[in-house]
Symmetry: C2
């Protein structure tokens, strides 16, 4: 699994151990520099959302494999321009940013039906799964699938997306079928993993998190904005495929089933940078970065 990266390990150090270990392993930056184009994949414009805020664009990669009904609803809502001119109504410190229409002043467009919860799903036979070796407090197994943090249980025969930083979820009321996709939230704090299997996660913010996480916190209960606070307007939300090619973001995401990603994870489990005197030896699911970058010029525009 370490192919591509051996050349970064000086042969003279190959037999050192202990304190010498740090020098043997590439940093994350070195892993990414050494990665090859096949270790990356472009975003699928049909499953990418652009949330246009006054400060810039937030790019969300949707996860139709995990929540197909919710993703379909969200795309229907987006194409009906349901979200345009709605606002960010909640910024709950160390928890979530949320937008929607809390007073139900905007009717839902046609085609938004009550749907199954999609909080978890059967483990598919063909799903890629790059298992993290360090275990997890919440689930029997965790790892990555399609660029997303995933948990699963062989005993339950179920898999589910994990509430890590930047994950996007569907707000709901008490009824498990009340989450249509019209109310969305993004995790902006320490992973609230207690929400796993209780809410439908539908994707991940791959660019622009700082436009959400840096917003002023709401002063009312649960981080909602009070009447006197000015909620941030959403200029528009669009499916990338509906945006002219020239206005699309041109991003690619590391393939989490690539050797590069495995090397990256290893580099984060035992940080080789000189700063670190005691490598952790472990890493938790939500502390593993999933790099996204501008697609090198020459590669086709797509997302």
């Amino acid at each position: 699994m370490m192919r591509n990266f051996k050349f970064l390990i000086p042969a003279a150090l190959a037999f050192l151990s202990g304190a010498g270990l740090a020098a043997q392993h590439p940093t994350m930056a070195e892993v990414l520099t050494a990665s090859s184009p096949v270790d990356w994949r472009p975003l699928d414009p049909h499953n990418t959302l652009y949330v246009e805020l006054p400060g810039g664009r937030v790019v969300i990669e949707l996860a139709p494999r995990f929540a197909p009904l919710h993703v379909a609803n969200i795309k229907t809502l987006t194409r009906a321009r349901y979200f345009d001119a709605l606002s960010i109504i909640r910024v709950h410190d160390n928890y979530v940013v949320q937008w929607g229409d809390p007073d139900n002043r905007h009717p839902l467009p046609a085609g938004i039906a009550k749907i199954a919860p999609e909080f978890d799903s059967p483990i598919p036979a063909t799903m890629p799964f790059t298992r993290l070796p360090d275990g997890d407090v919440y689930a029997p197994e965790v790892g990555f699938s399609d660029g997303l943090p995933v948990a699963r249980s062989a005993a339950l025969h179920r898999t589910w997306l994990a509430h890590c930083y930047a994950m996007v979820g569907v707000g709901r009321d008490l009824d498990v079928q009340s989450g249509s996709g019209a109310e969305l939230y993004v995790v902006i704090g320490h992973a609230p993993r207690h929400l796993d299997r209780n809410v439908a996660l539908v994707g991940r913010v791959v660019k622009g998190m700082e436009l959400l996480s840096g917003l002023p916190r709401g002063g009312a209960e649960m981080g909602f904005y009070t009447k006197t606070e000015v909620p941030l307007p959403i200029k528009s939300i669009r499916v990338a495929a509906d945006v002219p090619q020239s206005e699309r973001s041109n991003l690619e995401v590391i393939r989490t089933d690539s050797a590069a990603f495995t090397a990256l994870t290893e580099s984060r489990r035992n940080r080789p940078e000189d700063f670190f005197k005691v490598p952790a030896g472990h890493i938790d699911l939500c502390n593993v970065p999933i790099p996204v970058r501008e697609r090198p010029t020459g590669a086709a525009h797509s997302s």
Copy 2:
């Protein structure tokens, strides 16, 4: 350990199990309402800092038990007014907010000596330790001591503070003795536990996190502000004991060795609120809230 809270469990439900479980357990709000005054302790004004920002006050509880040399340095720096008129120079998304004097334009006051790292310490015989039952990805044992998230290893005979949200650490260069306390950071994202045992943690923000976490992210490498971005000035930092009684914050923190805190943790491990359909059954160290509140009127002002 469940004293005080049994009355919240209706006797008729005592023999239910499974789906009925949720109704048997109090919510965190109910735990806090049912807590008694002895479950709380005031902050020690001699180990409390007030960071005065344009937007308000950030209150830091220092941890002299874990980092006595660094805490002494920080109090010396504070009393020499070293921090006043310095700025917040770094807001790194999902990581840290940091302040200091990066260009060394302000000489350190007398009495700031090079000190031992204090990244961890021997496990003291008398230290309270409320162990979390759910394990941890990074350390053999985790729990709480004096209101702080703590990890420890019996094999190493060492204990250390954990990098959870709101923890305050001492910035340093590559040299492990280069952190004087003149450069401080606060965790504003998912717990960067890989920093554990690599940096001296010196306390926790107990009030005002939103004044730090909601700041605009810096545009330069590692979240530092660029020349054209305006860093937020620090009006002053003071030791609470040096501030007139009438201007002090009047806060108290839950005692993490109390029955109330154990009940709170249990309530967060298995959320009893109707919203939760699948209780997690576990919780990770940095997902456990450590409540702080205004000290009820009638209790002596102190912090």
